[in-house]
């Protein structure tokens, strides 16, 4: 009886002793991420959903608010809009130039900071400063620097006896000027990540390169650059997205001009949405911008990222 009782007691207590099944990693991750997901639903999904709604409607504010359903009309009309086609090319030109310049400048700055130089801390601080400047302020500053009336090149020209101002805000060069200003803003961040990456390259590789009598260029090409490929790919993607989204600097510096020479997609979206107050059409345009951004980053991944991330 006692044994039986004990056995029964053991049996009775067995279920409670059985270890609780552990939560799977997926479930745990989901639970941890749930608040963020809810937050994202609120701050991303709602505006996105509303943007989809607007893109399918013609919104009228004056004479009483009205939203007339127009289906895909806005998405179709965009393709017969010359300013949209023009904006695609300008955006493409601006983005490619910005990304190439940012990568080159970032690499140069990182290489400089990777050297043993005096007052390295001060140099790093100074080189990082442009990243801290708002794109609005950068737009104002570059605008002053490159205009024929107030620009630095005009000052140099006049100092050396020139009689004509040098204007870089013309149609031929305005996008390049914007790309330089954009690269000036973004390159420090790229440089610091590249620098961190450079610091992980074993010193003995450089010693071996010296024994093999590699030139400075060869050392850079075969020792320094290969480990940086992944960081370069990541930042090429990031700067592509940021450049395609760039707006405030363009608005302040050129206002899309002269004419429409620097009217990128973001500028056209702003103009259609908030100046023409054609919110549906502007929303449709913004979805095209989203597709272009996704397409561009996917393309970078296909031709570069897949190779370097292995």
């Amino acid at each position: 009886m006692a044994v039986g009782s004990a056995g029964q007691a053991i049996q009775a207590s067995t279920p409670s002793r059985k270890p609780r099944r552990e939560m799977s990693d997926t479930r745990f991750a989901f639970l941890i991420g749930l608040p963020v997901l809810v937050f994202l639903m609120l701050v991303v999904a709602y505006p996105l959903g509303y943007a989809i709604y607007m893109s399918l409607h013609q919104i009228v504010f004056f004479g009483g608010y009205r939203a007339n359903f127009v289906g895909l009309k806005n998405f179709i009309d965009v393709w017969s809009d010359k300013s949209f086609i023009n904006a695609i090319w300008i955006t493409l030109r601006f983005t490619v130039e910005s990304v190439v310049l940012t990568m080159i400048l970032g690499l140069c700055l990182a290489s400089i900071m990777n050297q043993r130089i005096r007052m390295a801390g001060l140099v790093r601080t100074l080189l990082f400063l442009p990243w801290c400047v708002s794109s609005y302020a950068a737009g104002l500053m570059f605008g002053q620097l490159v205009r024929g009336q107030t620009g630095i090149l005009t000052t140099i020209s006049f100092t050396f006896g020139g009689t004509q101002g040098v204007d870089l805000m013309g149609r031929a060069t305005v996008v390049e000027v914007l790309a330089v200003a954009n690269a000036w803003l973004m390159a420090p961040l790229v440089a610091f990540f590249l620098l961190a990456n450079m610091k992980t390259i074993p010193k003995r590789l450089y010693d071996l390169a010296a024994i093999d009598r590699l030139t400075a260029w060869e050392t850079f090409r075969y020792v320094t650059l290969p480990p940086l490929q992944f960081t370069l790919f990541v930042f090429a993607s990031i700067t592509t997205v940021l450049s395609m989204k760039m707006f405030d600097m363009i608005l302040i510096m050129t206002g899309g001009g002269p004419g429409t020479a620097s009217a990128t997609l973001t500028y056209q979206i702003y103009k259609r949405s908030f100046k023409d107050l054609n919110l549906g059409y502007g929303a449709a345009m913004s979805f095209y911008l989203l597709f272009f951004i996704l397409g561009a980053t996917f393309l970078i991944y296909l031709v570069w990222g897949r190779r370097v991330s292995r």
């Binding site: 009228v60 504010f61 004056f62 004479g63 300013s83 605008g143 205009r147 024929g148 009336q149 107030t150 101002g165 204007d167 805000m169 013309g170 149609r171 305005v174 608005l251 302040i252 050129t254 206002g255 001009g257 002269p258 004419g259 429409t260 020479a261 702003y270 103009k271 908030f274 100046k275 023409d276 107050l277």
Partner: protein, 448 residues
Amino acid sequence: MKRREFGLLAGTAGLALMSGAGRVLAQDMDLKPTSGETVYFRGWNFRTDVVQANVARYNEAMDGKVDYATVTGDYPALMEQNLMASAELDMFYANPSSACRYFDAGWVLPANELPAYAEIEAELYPNLKDAWTYKGKLLGLSYFASTRGTMVVNRKLFEEYGFTDADLPKNWDEVYDLIYRMKDKGIETPFLPHWFGEWFGISWGFVLEVINRGGTIADAETHQPTITTDEDGPYYKTLAAWKKLWQSGMIAQEVFTFNEGGYIDAFASGRYVMSPQQIYDIETFNRPGRSQIAGSCSLVPMGDHPWGIIDSGLYVMSNRERSEALTDDVKKFVSWYGFKDQDGKIAIAQNWMQENMLFSGYKSVMESPETAERIKKAIMRPEDYDAILKIYQNTPFPKGIWSVVWSEEFNPFLKETLSSFLFDDGDIVETLEAMTAKIEELNGKYGI
């Protein structure tokens, strides 16, 4: 004097004194806020130091709670977003063209609601009152009223190349003739056109020239397009003159990216001989230390037609949801700031005249001896005073395209169309037809 007569006299004098003091006191009391809530005042960036000082004076003298801040950037678009979002906004700057649009959306409380409306109405110049009235309502109170497109002349360069008063143009055709004559005489940049990059740049440049040449662009009442394509008409002639000027290579592309400051600086640099400018900027051009042509800037007197168009700013009251007491406070502040202060003086407008020579819509400001003295101090030659007043009093207003709900949508279209017309060597007739089509489209959109 008999005791009875003395008593009567003393009593009358006492009553008179009391009624006078009472009136001042009543006015003081009337303008004092009572709700204890904040009144929000927003404007564009112009002499924010002066505005801040004015607001501080109100807050101190009237125990007010006015919060002043500026809206930086594309002002009409940003202000529209603020109003649409029912932002905390009680009084703000607006051009009449924007104010019409806001009025139609129900965002504006017209100045007719102000207790002193009858007095305000009597004080305003009729042409300005007409420009600022929309659907029978006065949209706001006078901030400034100017002539944009006053043809200013850099006399230093003008005379250096042998030109005299006899050469001054009387109309826009003569302006272009003179430009090419100056070029032939060796002046590299004789003319700075109104083609700069602001929302009131190239588009207003076209509007003012066409209006000066006798055009209307759209009918003042029906807002139907009135643009013609005949070669002798004001529209065709304007674009033909622009095309020729642009193709002559005299105008740098950077002009299209100038902001207003850049446009003023360009003329103040002394490189140009003539330019359509804001009438009050004559003071800027003649100010030593600010301008390289200080003391040499004059203007072209009115000839066959007026120069320019009315460019004005209003203090507009918003119609947002707020307590009745706060609405009363807003009206008090708008009255104090945009019309008369507690001492019965149009102090703010007079102060603007002294500070920046901003012209006012109020007769008593413009006709005051202080104003005459201020203008005379800012001009190059005594005869310019009469020329300024004559231009100012005869300036037209493009009611057909500015007193209509779609004004701020037509304006950016015009800016882009005109820039493309010049850069891409556009066809004149096609460009004019595109303008007509746009007006028809906008009329259709708003059921006009």
